[in-house]
Assembly symmetry: C2
Homo-oligomer: 193 residues x 2
């Protein structure tokens, strides 16, 4: 039975993600990734032309999982509170490894983030759909809400060095529901500036 | 020598803050606060008509310290990076106790937050001044920047249950400088909605 191409690519990405998180980006070679993924080194070059490209693809997959998680939360929720709870659940998944990879991506690939920009625009679309669907429950403009959310999620991922996935999940639930309560006070200063 | 009125009020607030943080809001009586502050119970009622009012005043003082901290960071900084570093320094001060008090305030006083709104507008003014001063270094609109910052600071204060003041300071420095780097990507989705 022949192994499908997509399976091979997927195995390469899974091995790369695991090795990057364990050993750090600089300490992983393409040969090691090939060995762990049980493919030839030449096979890796069929899919990726460099280690940078592998990191891009690994990070992109994580971002895609965020978008899928947000989409799932939107599909399964009946109100804003449920949406936020499901979001906390989905986005805290595997946060310890994911945060390491995203920090690497941020550090190594700051100058070439075109794929990040694409996926961020997908993420934004899902939040826009949530904003439209639960319109009555949001008290602040969309761009502010989205910036606030990004501040929270970026915080959770930065914190992941210090606390566990379970603590992050609890943190996210707490703060998203807190956001839900206090957002009506957020634009209070608008008249004062 | 007669004790000045302001000293007494200050002592009451300091004792209340300490006792609330140690024992929880519900477990502290006005008599205990009086005893700890070395004033008569009647003296407390000269300044405050209820325990709720004491909590309001304690929380207000913390918010004022935030505003003072942000103002100090703005005065002492020569560029956005320095402003953010000083901000991280100032706003992580005494975060363990402060976060407890603010959580109490949030829980107990959600329905009467007029004083919170006033002070938030002061806080907003300082950030607006920073935004004007370092205009060239900010890539996103003010309201988005401010919402993003609030997401980060609210996160730090929510996290304070789990990690130490020192970790929060490191976290804040890291994430504020990260914000400084990535803000140029933040509005990337604007065309996509």
């Amino acid at each position: 039975m022949q192994i499908k191409k997509e399976d091979k690519k997927d195995r390469i990405l899974k091995s790369a993600e695991k090795l990057f998180a364990e050993k750090g980006y600089a300490n992983v070679s393409i040969s090691e990734i090939a060995k762990d993924a049980k493919v030839g080194k030449g096979t890796i070059y069929v899919y990726f032309s460099s280690k940078e490209e592998i990191l891009d693809a690994v990070a992109l997959r994580i971002f895609e999982e965020f978008v899928d998680g947000a989409r799932y939360a939107l599909e399964m929720s009946k109100n804003l509170k449920e949406f936020l709870e499901l979001l906390a659940e989905k986005l805290s998944k595997d946060v310890e490894n994911r945060s390491k990879i995203l920090a690497m991506f941020h550090r190594e690939r700051l100058k070439d983030r075109s794929k990040y920009r694409e996926i961020t625009s997908e993420y934004r679309k899902v939040f826009m759909a949530a904003y439209e669907r639960y319109r009555d429950e949001f008290k602040i403009p969309f761009d502010e809400m989205f910036a606030f959310m990004r501040g929270i999620f970026m915080s959770a991922y930065t914190m992941a060095d210090n606390i566990t996935e379970e603590s992050i999940k609890i943190f996210l639930k707490k703060i998203l529901l807190c956001f839900f309560d206090v957002q009506k006070d957020m634009d209070c200063g608008s008249g004062a500036s």
